[in-house]
C-alpha cells in the first residue's frame, strides 16, 4: 500500500527537489507530518517552553525590576566570581587540551588508550562526586587539610576550590574537540615548515594552531559554557557564602530557595543568553563546515 502510494505520487509530481526528497523519504505525507509534529511538539515542550517560562518570569515585573535584580550586590558578586573562574579555567583547559591532543595524536606511548579514556571520565562521573573528592582531599579534615591550614591556604569554600571543581568537570572539552582533528592531520605540514627553517614555536603558531583553530574555538566555547553553568561540583566545594563563594548558578538556586522567582529568573537569563550564543556559534561553524574542514582540504 505504501509503495503504491509513493509510486502514484511520484508519477504525478514533476521532477523537483521536493520530488527527490519524497523519493528518499519514501513515506506518505501522513507519516511525515506525524513524525515531524511529534519531534517539534516534544522539542517545544521540553526546551522552548521552559526557556520561555524563565524569560517570561524575568521580565514579568518590567525591565526596571529585571535590571535591579541583576544589579544587586550578591548578583554582581556571583557574575564576577563566575567570570573569574571561567577566566582561570579556560586557559588551563586550552593548555591541557592542546597538550593532551598533541600527545595522543602525534606520539605512540604506553597507556595512551587508558589516558584517552580517562579524559572522558568527567563526562560520566557525577559532578557531586567530583566536588566531594576535592573536599576529601583539601577540606579541613581531608588528606591535605591540616597541612593547608598550617600554611594558611584556603581551597575549599573559596575560589581555588571552585576553580578546581570547574576545571575537573571541563577537562574533556577542548581535548575531545582536538584529538580527532589532530589525528586526521598527518603532521606533514609541520614537517614542511621545519624543513623550510621554521622554529618549533613558529611552526606551532603559524601551522599547527591555524589548522586546529576552529576546533579549538569551539572547544573553548563548550568549555566556557560548562564552566559558567556548572552547579553540582561547585555546589559541594563552595559553601554557598552569598556574595563571596556563590557563582551564578548557585546564586540562582539560593534566590529560588528564597522564593525570589523573579530575581532567579533574571539572573538565569544571563546563562540562557550564553547558551544561545553557543548554539549560534555551533550552527555557524557547522553550516560553514569549518569544524570538519579544518581537518583536511
Amino acid at each position: 500500500m505504501t509503495v503504491a502510494t509513493t509510486q502514484h505520487e511520484s508519477s504525478l509530481a514533476p521532477p523537483s527537489p521536493s520530488g527527490d526528497q519524497r523519493a528518499i523519504g519514501g513515506a506518505p505525507w501522513v507519516v511525515r507530518c506525524l513524525l515531524i509534529s511529534v519531534a517539534v511538539v516534544f522539542l517545544s515542550i521540553m526546551i522552548v517552553l521552559p526557556l520561555a517560562a524563565v524569560l517570561f518570569e524575568a521580565f514579568r515585573s518590567g525591565l526596571p525590576t529585571f535590571i535591579r535584580a541583576l544589579r544587586s550586590p550578591d548578583a554582581v558578586a556571583a557574575v564576577r566570581l563566575t567570570a573569574i573562574t571561567t577566566a582561570i579555567v579556560l586557559p588551563l583547559n586550552v593548555l591541557f587540551g592542546v597538550a593532551a591532543a598533541w600527545s595522543i595524536a602525534k606520539f605512540e606511548w604506553r597507556g595512551k588508550t587508558i589516558f584517552t579514556t580517562l579524559i572522558d571520565l568527567p563526562f560520566t562521573v557525577s559532578p557531586v562526586i567530583a566536588g566531594m573528592s576535592f573536599v576529601l582531599l583539601f577540606g579541613a579534615r581531608g588528606w591535605f587539610g591540616p597541612w593547608l591550614a598550617s600554611m594558611d591556604i584556603k581551597i575549599i569554600f573559596a575560589l581555588p576550590g571552585i576553580v578546581l571543581a570547574t576545571a575537573f568537570v571541563t577537562v574533556p572539552f577542548v581535548a575531545r574537540e582536538l584529538i580527532p582533528l589532530m589525528e586526521s592531520q598527518t603532521g606533514q605540514e609541520e614537517e614542511a615548515a621545519l624543513s623550510l627553517g621554521a622554529s618549533g614555536w613558529s611552526t606551532f603558531f603559524r601551522i599547527t594552531l591555524p589548522n586546529i583553530k576552529w576546533g579549538l574555538i569551539y572547544g573553548c566555547i563548550l568549555c566556557a559554557a560548562r564552566s559558567i553553568g556548572e552547579f553540582g561540583a561547585v555546589s559541594v566545594v563552595s559553601g554557598h557564602i552569598g556574595g563571596q563563594t556563590e557563582t551564578v548558578p548557585l546564586h540562582v538556586e539560593t534566590l529560588f530557595g528564597e522564593y525570589k522567582f523573579g530575581a532567579a529568573a533574571s539572573l538565569s537569563t544571563l546563562l540562557i543568553a550564553f547558551t544561545l550564543f553557543t548554539v549560534v556559534i555551533r550552527h555557524l561553524l557547522q553550516s560553514r563546515k569549518l569544524l570538519a574542514r579544518s581537518g583536511h582540504i
Binding site: 606533514q188 605540514e189 614542511a192 621545519l194 624543513s195 623550510l196 621554521a198 601551522i207 591555524p210
Partner: protein
C-alpha cells in the same frame, strides 16, 4: 662534492627499514630511488632530509657531516608526496613561508620577498595563481607550488617523496618531463623517490634500486635496465620472461645437471615465428592468448604447453608478415638472455 650516505640502518620496531644502505649522489644530478613499497625508499629520503634519525650510519652533504643536524639546519628542499601545502595560506604565502620565517636579521624585505616569490611562481608556471588557496588548485598545480616553496630558500639539495604518486597517468607523465626540464634549468642536486620504474628510467640521471632495505644496484637508467645486477633488478625493471634452463637445452650456458639455471629474457629479446623451420634450435612453442597492437611494438602473449606465460614484443612489420593471430600455435626463441646467481628457485 655530493650527497653521501654511509651504512645507514633504521628499524621501526622489529621491521628493518634500511639495512646498511650506502650511496652517493653527484652534485647537480637527478637521482631516483626506486623500489617496491616497503623497500625503505621513503625512510631513506627522510633520513637524508633529517626528518628521521637513523639508528646508525652517517649522512654527508658536500663533504660535511650533517648526521646530527636538525632538518631545519640542513638546508634541504623537501617535497612531500601529498604536497603538504599550508592549506590556510594563499599560494603566495606558501611559497614565501621559508623566507618569512627567517630570523629578522636575515629576512629579506617585503619587496624582495615578493620579487622572489614571483620569480619562483614564474619558474613553475603558476604566475597567475598567487592569490589562490591550495584547495582551489588541481593535484599537478599543488605539486608545482610545493616545488616552488621548497626552492624558495635556494636549497643545495632537493628531495622529493613520490612527487607524482598522487596524480593521474597523463598529468604524471607531463609533470615528470617538466621536472626534468626544471632540473636542467636550476641544477640543484636532487633525489626523488618512486615505485614507478618507468618514471625513474625516464627522468633520472642515475637510479638507485632499493629492495627490502638494501641497495640492489646503482647506475644510469640504461645500465640498470640492460645490465641488471641481479634477478630482483631484472624483474623489477620492466617485464621479463623467466625460463628454466632445462627447457632450452641448446642455449650455451644451459649445461647444468641439477642447479637448474634460470634464464631471464626481456620481451623484446625474443623472436617469434609461426613457421617451425624458422624458429631455430632452442625454440619454445605455445598458443597465442592475447595480442596487443596498441603501442610502438606489438605485444604477443603466449601460453606454453606446460602452462607458462610468455610475453614477446615484436615490431609491427614483423607482426604483419608473420600473420599471427589469437589461438595460433607459434614458436618463440630467445635471442639473448641473462643468468643470475640469485635467480634460481622461481
Amino acid at each position: 662534492m655530493s650527497i653521501e650516505v654511509h651504512n645507514i640502518r633504521k628499524r621501526f620496531g622489529s621491521f628493518v627499514a634500511l639495512d646498511d644502505v650506502s650511496l652517493r649522489v653527484n652534485t647537480g644530478e637527478l637521482t631516483a630511488i626506486l623500489g617496491p613499497s616497503g623497500s625503505g625508499k621513503t625512510s631513506l629520503l627522510r633520513v637524508m632530509a633529517g626528518l628521521e634519525t637513523a639508528d646508525s650510519g652517517s649522512v654527508h652533504f658536500f663533504e660535511k657531516d650533517v648526521t646530527g643536524r636538525h632538518v631545519r639546519e640542513r638546508g634541504v628542499g623537501f617535497v612531500f608526496q601529498h604536497y603538504a601545502l599550508f592549506k590556510h595560506m594563499s599560494v603566495f604565502d606558501n611559497v614565501a613561508f621559508g623566507l618569512t620565517v627567517r630570523p629578522r636579521k636575515l629576512r629579506p624585505n617585503r619587496a624582495e620577498i615578493k620579487r622572489r616569490v614571483d620569480e619562483l611562481l614564474d619558474l613553475v608556471q603558476m604566475t597567475n595563481y598567487a592569490a589562490q588557496q591550495p584547495s582551489q588548485l588541481s593535484g599537478g598545480q599543488r605539486q608545482r607550488i610545493a616545488l616552488a616553496r621548497a626552492l624558495a630558500l635556494e636549497p643545495k639539495v632537493l628531495l622529493l617523496d613520490e612527487p607524482f604518486g598522487a596524480l593521474d597517468a597523463k598529468v604524471r607523465a607531463e609533470l615528470r618531463r617538466w621536472l626534468r626540464r626544471l632540473h636542467d634549468q636550476v641544477h640543484v642536486t636532487s633525489v626523488f623517490v618512486t615505485h614507478d620504474q618507468e618514471e625513474a628510467l625516464e627522468v633520472a640521471d642515475r637510479v638507485v634500486v632499493l629492495n627490502q632495505g638494501r641497495v640492489e644496484q646503482i647506475g644510469p637508467p640504461g645500465e640498470v635496465y640492460h645490465s641488471p645486477a641481479n634477478a630482483f633488478v631484472c624483474t623489477f625493471l620492466g617485464r621479463v620472461n623467466i625460463f628454466n634452463g632445462r627447457r632450452l637445452p641448446t642455449l650455451p650456458s644451459a649445461v647444468d645437471a641439477d642447479g637448474a639455471p634460470v634464464y631471464y629474457v626481456r620481451p623484446h629479446e625474443m623472436d617469434l615465428t609461426a613457421d617451425p623451420a624458422l624458429a631455430g634450435d632452442s625454440h619454445i612453442s605455445g598458443t597465442v592468448t592475447h595480442v596487443n597492437a596498441a603501442g610502438p611494438v606489438v605485444r604477443v602473449e603466449l601460453q606454453t604447453i606446460d602452462k607458462q606465460h610468455l610475453i614477446i614484443d615484436v615490431s609491427h612489420d614483423h607482426f604483419r608478415n608473420s600473420r599471427v593471430t589469437r589461438g595460433d600455435t607459434v614458436f618463440a626463441a630467445p635471442k639473448d638472455h641473462r643468468v643470475f646467481e640469485d635467480g634460481a628457485g622461481i
